[in-house]
């Protein structure tokens, strides 16, 4: 079994650019060291929390801004302010049109390029004292409230795994690849 698996995967890897030098001996082949073990589905499910811009990783569930308002007030406003603008932590609302000014205001509405990132991050890391404690419905709801407050969706828009990836963020085209070295030599 192992030999068949090893040979099969080695062939695939050998064709890839990253592995172009090819396996020189058995230890450089897949499972050549014989260390570790297959991960179980349960182990993967427990940690596989990332949400991609395609929407891959979004769970079942839904929410609206109306539902999110109370949740924001109860769980988020202490750090971000009653309207998401006052802080003391990151400002979340407003700032449209300020990025090229002397004092840019980078918020979810003015800066974030993907709405899916908001789901990923709120679920992953918020609320700060209790990360990963919100249910999918709660995350969809608070994400909806933030997008509504930023003028990106309507108050009654239902966010779920299908609708969230389709949301067009205002600064979606605002990011460019690294052009460095960019400073002329003296």
């Amino acid at each position: 079994m192992r030999n068949i698996l090893t040979v099969g995967v080695t062939t695939i890897l050998g064709a890839g650019l990253l592995w172009a030098e090819g396996p020189a001996d058995r230890q450089e082949q897949t499972h050549g060291y014989g260390l570790g073990r297959p991960a179980t589905d349960q182990e993967i499910r427990a940690w596989n929390i990332d949400v991609a811009p395609t929407g891959e990783g979004l769970p079942a569930g839904q929410g609206t801004a109306k539902q999110g308002a109370a949740l924001f007030a109860a769980r988020c406003a202490t750090c971000h302010g009653p309207t998401g603008k006052e802080g003391p932590m990151d400002r979340l609302i407003g700032g449209a049109g300020t990025l090229a000014s002397q004092h840019p205001i980078k918020t979810v509405g003015s800066y974030w390029p993907y709405a899916t990132t908001l789901y990923d991050y709120v679920h992953r890391a918020m609320p700060f004292p209790a990360p990963q404690s919100l249910s999918p419905d709660e995350v969809y709801s608070v994400v909806a409230w933030l997008l509504y407050q930023n003028g990106i969706i309507a108050e009654d828009t239902v966010l779920d795994a299908r609708s969230l990836p389709d949301i067009s963020m205002p600064n979606r085209q605002g990011f460019l690849p690294d052009p460095r070295p960019d400073v002329p030599k003296p």
Partner: protein
């Protein structure tokens, strides 16, 4: 004290196997018999051992026995260099007190996003999944069994010197440049582990995720990191410090510290960046036209004079100008020092070893005549990149980009010898 001595006595602690030759056994019997007596004799020094962590010193240390050995060493009680915990999020390395190129693990800067987690190494796992032959999981013991590699490398937060964009802010080198440190890192190469798992040839990006309360994640372009990335379990000869990712962290030499995910628990292979919060709303460089640069991973060449530096007072006469230079693109090729605000430059001596993507120590002998002067250093790396002056850097990037500030640092020395941060 006595109990401590008995525990450390001849019946254990030397790591030797129990079955020994007769002479050793005899020696052990003898030592066991005299343990009480020796213990009593050592009471004086044992008391001193406790006092070695205080500033109480005998009038003449040659006239009294010194301190006994200790299980885990501490620095002299007379040494006071400390990190500055700047907030809940970070602490700064005291570069002005540093010697050579290594940062003591206890003084390595910290940056974390929801505290330092406590992780039991026996329970820690690294999960590798996504575009792989088969999802796979490793224990720490598994990872330590792979062939190991060690290398010296700096890690610099891309937010190092961020406050300097808008004007001279930090008072000391620690405050202006203290988010960089150098350690020897030991682990297994990422390439070895991915080879073991079997990665799909179309996988081009890898998500790395930490097991902290921020579940910190970054997407990394696989082809760019595969030659040098290390999954590290050790730092400066011992397991990683908790604040440096214990028990497992990623090291990508020369890349911004945030990519070197700490408390590493998961790698997911994919075809595209995952666009996490840390690579979209954070760690992107806002330009004057309102666009932002994304995936600006490499830390460009940078240097700073650590002595004399901000907050210090110097006396006229000889002193050695000392500093650190580093480049995320390769080796430091040269460092020049100006003592006249950049009008003229002299070559500093580079102290071996001069390693790629590692702090490099430079020196220049100097005599201060008590005049008002401005000290600067600028470095060149082996790719031909030269550290820019502040005016040139700001002309290209403006002052709103937050990250990757690497302009020449200026220290003003006033006639009274006081050194302060200025932008010249």
């Amino acid at each position: 004290m006595t109990r401590h001595f008995q525990e450390e006595g001849p019946s254990g602690g030397d790591g030797r196997p129990d079955a020994e030759d007769e002479s050793l056994l005899n020696r052990r019997s003898l030592l066991a018999g005299t343990a009480g007596l020796v213990g009593a004799m050592l009471m004086g020094p044992m008391r001193l051992a406790a006092e070695a962590t205080t500033e109480i010193s005998p009038e003449d240390p040659t006239r009294v026995p010194g301190a006994a050995p200790t299980a885990y060493g501490q620095r002299s009680a007379f040494e006071k260099a400390l990190r500055i915990p700047r907030s809940w999020w970070s602490s700064l390395t005291p570069l002005q007190d540093s010697h050579g190129i290594l940062t003591p693990s206890s003084l390595h800067f910290e940056r974390h996003h929801n505290g330092v987690p406590t992780i039991q190494p026996a329970q820690h796992r690294l999960l590798i999944h996504g575009m792989v032959d088969q999802p796979w999981t490793f224990t720490m013991d598994d990872l330590k069994r792979f062939p190991s590699v060690s290398r010296l490398a700096f890690i610099e937060c891309s937010g190092n010197s961020a406050a300097e964009w808008r004007g001279p802010t930090g008072q000391t080198a620690q405050q202006t440049h203290g988010l960089t440190s150098t350690s020897e890192w030991t682990g297994v190469t990422l390439k070895t582990v991915l080879q073991e798992v079997g990665v799909h040839p179309d996988a081009t990006w890898m998500l790395a995720e930490g097991g902290d309360a921020a579940a910190m994640t970054r997407s990394l372009p696989l082809a760019s990191i595969l030659d040098e990335a290390i999954l590290c379990y050790a730092q400066n000869g011992e397991p990683l410090r908790p604040e440096q990712g214990y028990p497992l962290r990623l090291l990508i030499p020369g890349w911004e510290g945030n990519t070197c995910i700490k408390w590493l628990r998961r790698l997911k292979l994919g075809r595209a960046p995952f666009m996490t919060r840390e690579e979209t709303s954070q760690y992107t460089d806002l330009m004057p036209d309102g666009t932002a640069r994304q995936f600006t991973m490499v830390m460009d060449a940078k240097s700073v004079i650590t002595s004399p530096s901000g907050g210090q007072h110097i006396q006229p006469g000889f002193l050695e100008i000392r500093g650190l230079a580093w480049s995320g693109r390769g080796r430091i090729a040269s460092v020049e020092v100006s003592t006249d605000g950049g009008r003229s430059w002299r070559q500093a001596a580079l102290q071996e070893p001069i390693l790629p993507k590692c702090h490099t120590r430079f020196h220049l002998p100097w005599r201060w005549n008590g005049e008002d002067v401005i000290l600067q250093s600028r470095c060149l790396d082996d790719t031909g990149y030269r550290q820019p002056d502040r005016t040139t850097l700001v002309a290209v990037r403006g002052v709103n980009s937050v990250y990757h500030y690497n302009a020449i640092q200026s220290w003003h020395i006033a006639a009274d010898g006081k050194v302060s941060n200025v932008h010249a």
